[in-house]
């Protein structure tokens, strides 16, 4: 009964918004802006939300939320454009998308891939929204089981899983790349006691390495050097491309879509981690569940669907702790928190009493944003694919310039360029040697979280590792990590096979 009543209020809110032309225009405008931000390497959804916040001063809280959620949804989705078409993920959230999206584009199916990701993202956002309406208090209670040990294990799992999934040949190489990223994340003054680590007395290194220049350098520069060496396989654009996915394909992929959406909501709801981990974990789950895991990484549409559904479902997930506890579930949600407070809305446990309809308004906005994103995506994809017809010798220099501008624009620091170029060159040689780059970037992103939470956890337990085994969530995470690592060794597979034989014989 309670749920039905909530849906009633929800639909009346929705109707009010659909019939407000200014609101709709604002929604489409901000979703479009978000897609642009997401697609450009270096401009992220977080930055988009931050920049737009300053422009929403004069608006009412609800109107401001239309603009901010619009740019958030668009930004998370837009990253898939550059990931699929040029193999440079526009945002970290789309890193897993490029694994299968780019091979698809190389096969000449870029348009189809974009159509699939658009639909998958829209469904993901929609499922995330359903969770915000129905069971958000329950999810936020589970999220409170997470203390420092759990956060550390979760960050470490994110690095390990991306290493496991992306290695072209030996899985160790993925882990090595992940640990390299973790090492880069250590540079700078540590977050707990301010001790300078690997700064060599350089003031620019004190704040640590910024993620955006590392992301752009590591993904963009190897791609550009590849063209210079003239053996770049340009993605193809076939003449008659169908962007709208077949209804049958979507129905067939429904289990993957639903599983990925659930993973996305769950990960979004955990405070502090967001779209980037959601994409990886869901990609991994899809690969494990697949009947033909070997086709992943060579252009499997399921891989693209898995990561894109999850990173958009994450938005709804991230709103749950934000609205119910006042704790942002992802970095862009942290920006949203600031914007909400600016408009006099203090998210937290009292929100239900202070602004009873606010959560439902947010969900109505999310639903509309996912529609707007789908419509815009369908219209844009056709035009964006044309980019591939530009000959690479003309196209790649433009990308190179965008990479440089993208790194510099963040804080206008020339030092970011000195950082981006060496990272890019190292990344190029690593790629040549068959090391995957994605785990390195994930390591840089999740490194501070792993490092600070491990040390904080040890401060809390006064040096004891026992809580890992006594806390239920920590124990589950620990076992999953151990299993992920052990399952990669041939010994494990042989043991498993032997066990199976033994059991069958006994029967």
């Amino acid at each position: 009964m309670f749920v039905l009543e909530r849906f009633g209020i929800f639909f009346s809110n929705l109707a009010a918004m659909v019939f407000d032309p200014v609101g709709l225009l604002l929604l489409f405008g901000s979703v479009f802006l978000g897609i642009l931000f997401g697609a450009m390497p270096g401009l992220t959804a977080t930055l988009g939300v931050a920049l737009l916040t300053t422009l929403t001063y004069g608006m009412r809280a609800e109107t401001a939320m239309i603009a901010l959620l619009g740019i958030y949804v668009g930004g998370v989705y837009g990253g898939s454009y550059s990931a699929i078409l040029i193999n440079i993920p526009g945002t970290a959230a789309a890193a897993a998308t490029s694994l299968d999206g780019y091979p698809l584009a190389c096969k000449g199916e870029g348009g189809r891939a974009l159509g699939l990701t658009t639909t998958a993202s829209a469904i993901g956002t929609f499922v995330g929204m359903l969770f915000v309406v129905s069971i958000s208090p329950l999810i936020s209670r589970i999220a409170l089981q997470f203390t420092s040990f759990e956060f550390f294990l979760l960050a470490f799992f994110g690095i390990i899983i991306s290493g496991t999934l992306t290695s072209p040949d030996l899985v160790y190489k993925g882990w090595i790349a992940g640990l390299l990223g973790l090492f880069l994340a250590i540079v700078g003054r540590d977050g707990l006691q301010f001790y300078p680590r690997f700064t060599f007395g350089m003031p620019q290194l004190e704040g640590g390495l910024e993620v955006v220049p590392v992301l752009i350098g590591a993904f963009g520069i190897p791609q550009i050097i590849g063209v210079l060496k003239d053996r770049f396989a340009p993605a193809e654009a076939k003449r008659f491309q169908r962007i709208l996915p077949e209804f049958g394909t979507i129905v067939r992929r429904l289990p993957t879509i639903l599983r990925s959406a659930l993973i996305g909501v769950g990960i979004g709801a955990v405070p502090g981690i967001g779209e980037d981990i959601a994409g990886w974990v869901s990609y991994g789950a899809a690969k494990n569940a697949s009947k033909h895991p070997e086709s992943f990484g060579t252009g499997d549409e399921e891989g693209v669907i898995a990561s894109e559904t999850a990173n958009n479902a994450c938005i709804g997930g991230a709103m749950i702790p934000l609205l119910n506890l006042g704790i942002p579930g992802s970095p862009p949600a942290a920006m949203l928190l600031g914007a909400l407070m600016l408009h006099g809305v203090n998210p937290g446990p009292m929100l239900r009493f202070d602004h009873p309809n606010f959560i439902l308004q947010i969900t109505a906005i999310l639903l509309l944003a996912s529609f707007a994103m789908w419509i815009l995506g369908m219209l844009l994809a056709k035009q964006v694919v044309k980019v591939l017809r530009i000959p690479p010798p003309l196209f790649m220099p433009i990308i190179a310039v965008l990479c440089v501008i993208g790194s510099y624009a963040l804080g206008f620091k020339i030092f970011n360029l000195y950082l981006m170029i060496p990272v890019g060159i190292i990344a190029y040689f690593l790629t040549e040697m068959g090391y995957p780059i994605a785990p390195l970037v994930i390591g840089v992103i999740l490194g501070p979280m792993a490092d600070q939470n491990l040390r904080r956890a040890l401060m809390v337990s006064q040096g004891s590792f026992m809580p890992v085994f006594t806390r239920p969530v920590a124990l589950i995470l620990f076992l999953v990590i151990v299993l992920t690592i052990v399952s990669q060794f041939p010994v494990y597979r042989r043991a498993l096979a032997a066990l199976k034989r033994l059991l069958l014989r006994n029967r």
Partner: protein, 335 residues
């Protein structure tokens, strides 16, 4: 030819006299800029925008707030504001944390080059999780004394105002706590709710929702006066532990400043407008809605507050090893 020359001279004279005339026009004759050193949407930003809107009504010109962030302790915005002409048309919107800019290497002067106008701040409060066995400050102090160095206490990052209050609380009560730093107030409070820590010190504004929802139990505010939040009154921690008065309060001071180089005539105009603004309904409502204690301090009173904050922060950071510049070289006295 002669005529043209005459005309030129005449126009020149006229324009010069106009400039003088405009110079004599009463201050302020054009819009004022508030260079705000923190980002948009934060507490300092919101408070400044509301007060500036009220001051603009008294002064009869607009006050434009521009956020110039970056550096350490707001140093980029402070330099920007200080390097503009000292003509009374630039204000720096800031808060107590700017006193750390010097020892962090972003500001080569003491902070007494500014003339401060303090809007106020939210008092800090010491709370425990809702299921904690400790019902009062005395309970908590007794528990801390029974297991020295082990009672887990959270506050935001080391060297923050919350941490300074925690250190002062330890000194004032003669206890030693296991301080666990967090990235900000929200994660620190979250850790108290999950039971990872046994007590937390952040501001009332930040805890209000959690206290009202019954997830945190406030034991005492770290200021001399009790604070009323909804229908419950939070006592002052000073009532149960008189020793605290020697080390506390160390309060938030959100407000703005003008360079001391600005002529006194203009600064007094700003001061009048500021005091008038503090008495208006919108500012009072803002204070109530956001759990602030409004201050309104200016002149010598405000200068003394910032002097104390500066020496306290600078020397604490130096002792923690978190400072880059020795406070002695900046001439900052020990607290």
């Amino acid at each position: 030819m002669k005529r043209i020359a005459m005309l030129v001279v005449l126009v020149a004279l006229l324009s010069v006299s106009l400039v003088f005339a405009s110079g004599e026009r009463e201050y302020p004759s054009r819009d004022i800029t508030n260079v705000l050193v923190w980002s948009a949407g934060g507490g300092t930003d919101t408070a400044n925008r509301i007060v500036m809107a009220e001051m603009a009504k008294t002064l009869g010109v607009n006050i434009n707030v521009v956020n110039v962030t970056g550096g350490v302790g707001g140093s980029v915005g402070m330099l920007e504001a200080y390097n503009r002409p000292h003509d009374g048309y630039t204000i720096a919107g800031l808060s107590e944390s700017i006193v750390t800019a010097g020892v962090q290497g972003g500001w080569d002067k003491r902070v007494d080059v500014w003339d401060y106008y303090i809007i106020g701040g939210s008092p800090l409060v010491l709370s425990v999780p809702a299921n904690s066995p400790h019902r009062s400050i005395e309970d908590l102090v007794a528990a801390a004394k029974s297991r020295p160095g082990q009672l887990r206490a959270s506050a935001s990052a080391a060297g923050s105002i919350h941490h300074l209050n925690l250190l002062a609380f330890e000194k004032g009560t003669g206890t030693s706590l296991n301080y666990i730093p967090y990235d900000g107030s929200a994660p620190a409070q979250n850790a108290a709710i999950t039971g990872e820590v046994e007590m937390v010190i952040t501001s009332i504004a930040e805890q209000a929702q959690l206290i009202r929802a019954g997830q945190l139990r406030p034991l005492g505010v770290l200021v001399p006066q009790a604070f009323t939040l909804g229908n419950q009154t939070i006592p002052s921690a000073f009532d149960s532990v008189p020793g605290l008065t020697a080390h506390l309060p160390i309060e938030q001071a959100i407000g703005f400043a003008m360079a001391r180089g600005v002529p006194e005539a203009q600064r007094s105009k700003i001061r009048e407008a500021f005091h008038a603004a503090m008495q208006t309904e919108p500012v009072k409502n803002f204070g109530r809605d956001n759990f602030y204690v409004l201050s309104g301090a200016s002149g010598d009173e405000a200068a003394a507050i910032f002097d104390a904050l500066e020496s306290n922060f600078a020397w604490t950071l130096w002792e923690l090893g978190a400072a880059r510049v020795d406070p002695q070289t900046l001439g900052i006295p020990r607290p």
